[in-house]
């Protein structure tokens, strides 16, 4: 038979919690109470931090940032499923995940106020790569780090996050191919939030799912309801277990939504309709999970109020700490050009310090 079907492929979809907050009894991972409460805390903390950052930005107390509101579940689920020795290679919209990995909010503020000091993690916070603004680049770093883990025989994996827009970059496809050829322990999580600045998903790609990209690289791929934190937790845990056991990479597409502007410099009213945004507010991942907890008697209005108050106190304190910081040596960039001192750089440092006395530039 000269023409026959030699392969068929399927793309699967996972949802543990439906939109009313009811868990599928067979899929419910029945996580210990402690983990459930941690998930709740992480998502509320991310949501509140985001809201505060938006205010700080509008008041001119920090610079541009990309809000994560609406995407807490797709990041916090996987981040909590990670082991301490795993690597986190994110892009720029994973605040909740960075917090779970231990990044203090003061760092986030410093970073968004234009200081590299925000990338310097306190002792104990490791394997958390800085925010990666070059869209898609981090996926390759993740593959390399995963190679290193495999080479050194460490039982550690790498989780990398990217957006739907990032799947158009060559780097992403090259990363999938390398990961697949090398069979390294890396989990790609695409936060498909439907938009890449003003470009809707349907203009970004012609294919119907991002998950199906995995098929071409012969790796497991699935689509998950990204506003279902339990679904995201389960999907990531499965992928991590497989990777840790030598089973190679996985691609997870989290279907979610960017409820806010792309960044604070963006005006989404130019390109999208409010009713679309409203439909997604109706699928708020935080509301869904709270219903689940409430139905199990683990949560109520009072606990919610307590948690919000506690988180706000934490944020207040971080704002204070951040705004009290004054130690930004102007010549720090000269310290970090190379690992060793060089006469040319030192000569320029001396010149820079002398120039500084004459006044600062940046004039329009």
């Amino acid at each position: 038979m000269p023409r026959k079907e030699i392969e068929t492929f399927a793309v699967s979809w996972l949802q543990v919690l439906d939109e009313t907050g009811t868990a599928d009894p067979e899929l419910d991972p029945k996580l210990p109470q402690e983990t459930l409460l941690e998930l709740q805390r992480a998502m509320v903390r991310a949501r509140e931090s985001d809201a505060r950052m938006l205010r700080l930005q509008r008041q001119g107390r920090i610079g541009t940032f990309g809000p994560c509101t609406g995407q807490e579940a797709s990041v916090c689920g996987p981040a909590l499923a990670m082991a301490p020795q795993d690597w986190f290679a994110g892009s720029f919209r994973e605040l909740g995940g960075r917090q779970i990995r231990g990044e203090p909010l003061t760092n986030t503020f410093l970073f968004h106020n234009g200081f590299e000091e925000g990338n310097v993690q306190p002792a104990g916070v490791t394997r958390l790569l800085p925010v990666s603004i070059i869209v898609g680049a981090q996926t390759l770093h993740a593959v390399g780090a995963a190679y290193a883990m495999k080479y050194r025989g460490e039982k550690a994996c790498v989780v990398t996050f990217l957006g739907d827009g990032a799947t158009s970059e060559g780097d992403f496809h090259e990363a999938l191919n390398f990961a697949s050829v090398w069979q390294v322990p890396v989990v790609f999580i695409v936060q498909n939030n439907q938009w890449a600045i003003s470009i809707p998903r349907r203009k970004q790609m012609h294919c119907r799912t991002i998950a199906q990209r995995a098929i071409a690289y012969d790796m497991p791929g699935l689509q998950v309801d990204g506003n279902d934190v339990l679904g995201m937790y389960v999907a990531a845990r499965e992928a991590l277990d497989r990777a840790r056991g030598g089973g190679g990479p996985t691609l997870i597409e989290a279907v979610t939504y960017r409820l806010m502007m792309h960044t604070t410099a963006d005006d989404p009213s130019k390109y999208r309709q409010d009713d679309e945004v409203q439909q997604w507010w109706d699928r708020d991942p935080l509301v869904r999970f709270r219903k689940y907890l409430e139905a199990r008697g683990l949560w109520d209005a009072q606990r919610q109020a307590l948690l919000e108050a506690e988180v706000k106190r934490e944020i207040d304190q971080a704002v204070q700490e951040f705004e009290a910081r004054r130690d930004f040596p102007p010549d720090a960039p000269f310290d970090h050009v190379f690992g060793t001192r060089h006469a040319l750089i030192e000569e320029q440092r001396a010149q820079f310090l002398a120039d500084l006395r004459l006044g600062e530039g940046g004039h329009a």
């Binding site: 106020n113 603004i133 890449a196 003003s198 203009k203």
Partner: protein
């Protein structure tokens, strides 16, 4: 004449070129519906439709690579890189192909295309949104590099770039995008690529700059001339490649003194090339070493520090004084 910002002026130039020539296609990330993140392409989609104003998927190498194909096949693409910091992803296509088709085919195949790239610092933006890297592009044979400094010349140069038979990297100093307005004539105006202009004539010293650094340089010159009797000639390069060696050489041969002001890192920057040009053309007329006021050879700092790293008018003025007094 309407007073326009540089953003509006480039928009006007693109609009008129699209009107004039239906081979002109605008493409890039967010250039359509959103009108570009800086609004340079605002209104073009509504006027010319989706086949001529293309919101592309997010891939810089593809944007330039596809533009090359369009140009080879007779279109006149004007591609946008959203920020200079992301334009390096197009480098393999620019160096490997756009710059070479003419030579490769002995003139049979050409790449008349424009890549617009907002570049430079001073807008308090995130990492990769504030560096000046014009050297990377100016170093490539076969690529023209244009840097407007004000609304009117930006409009006249974008028109020239669209009509140019070769690939043009059009670096838009984003600090100047909305910093000031200028009268820009409605009727067509074109400036030649590869020509510098003498902004103000003088006899004692030549000050040379381009792009966003023109304004602090002009300020320094004006301040100094209030303070002391000195006649300073100010040159705006407008094109970094090809460099207008004649204007530069003639000016410095006349004044005997020169200061070059550049935002980008010092080593291998355009100022170094200018000094070499002066060496070739006016060495024996020099009365003082040529000075360069530049950025430093450090990784471009985040915006918390960037204002300390871009030369201030005071720094420029001191260089002018030291050169005059040498």
């Amino acid at each position: 004449m309407p007073k326009l910002t540089m953003v509006q002026a480039i928009n006007l130039g693109l609009d008129q070129e699209m009107q004039r020539d239906d081979r002109v296609i605008v493409l890039g990330e967010d250039v359509g519906r959103d009108g570009g993140v800086f609004r340079v392409t605002e209104g073009l989609l509504a006027k010319y439709g989706e086949t001529r104003v293309i919101d592309t998927p997010l891939a810089e190498s593809a944007i330039l690579g596809a533009s090359i194909g369009m140009a080879l096949a007779g279109l006149r693409p004007v591609a946008e890189m959203q920020f200079c910091g992301f334009s390096y992803l197009m480098l393999p296509q620019l160096e490997g192909h756009a710059s070479r088709f003419r030579a490769r085919s002995q003139g049979q195949l050409t790449c008349p295309l424009v890549v617009r790239v907002p570049y430079g610092g001073g807008v308090r933006a995130l990492e990769h949104h504030s560096e000046a890297r014009e050297t990377l592009y100016a170093h490539l044979p076969g690529v023209k590099v244009v840097v407007p400094s004000a609304p009117r010349n930006a409009r006249a140069l974008i028109v020239a770039a669209v009509r140019d038979p070769d690939p043009v990297v059009f670096l838009e100093p984003k600090r100047s995008y909305r910093a000031f307005r200028e009268e820009v004539p409605e009727e067509e105006e074109v400036m030649p690529i590869g020509c510098a202009i003498v902004v103000r004539p003088g006899t004692d010293l030549t000050a040379i700059s381009w792009g966003a650094m023109m304004r602090p340089t002009l300020q320094a010159v004006e301040e100094l001339q209030k303070q002391r009797k000195a006649s300073i000639e100010l040159i705006d390069l407008l094109s970094l490649a090809p460099l207008d060696v004649e204007t530069i050489g003639a000016s410095v041969a006349k004044t005997g003194r020169c200061v070059v002001v550049q935002e980008s890192p010092r080593s291998f920057g355009p100022a170094a090339e200018l000094i070499a040009v002066i060496n070739d053309r006016a060495l024996l007329q020099l009365e003082a070493p040529v000075k360069r006021v530049t950025g430093y050879d450090v990784v471009t700092p985040y915006f918390g520090r960037e204002h300390q790293y871009i030369a201030s008018p005071a720094r420029i003025r001191r260089a002018l004084e030291e050169t005059l007094d040498f």
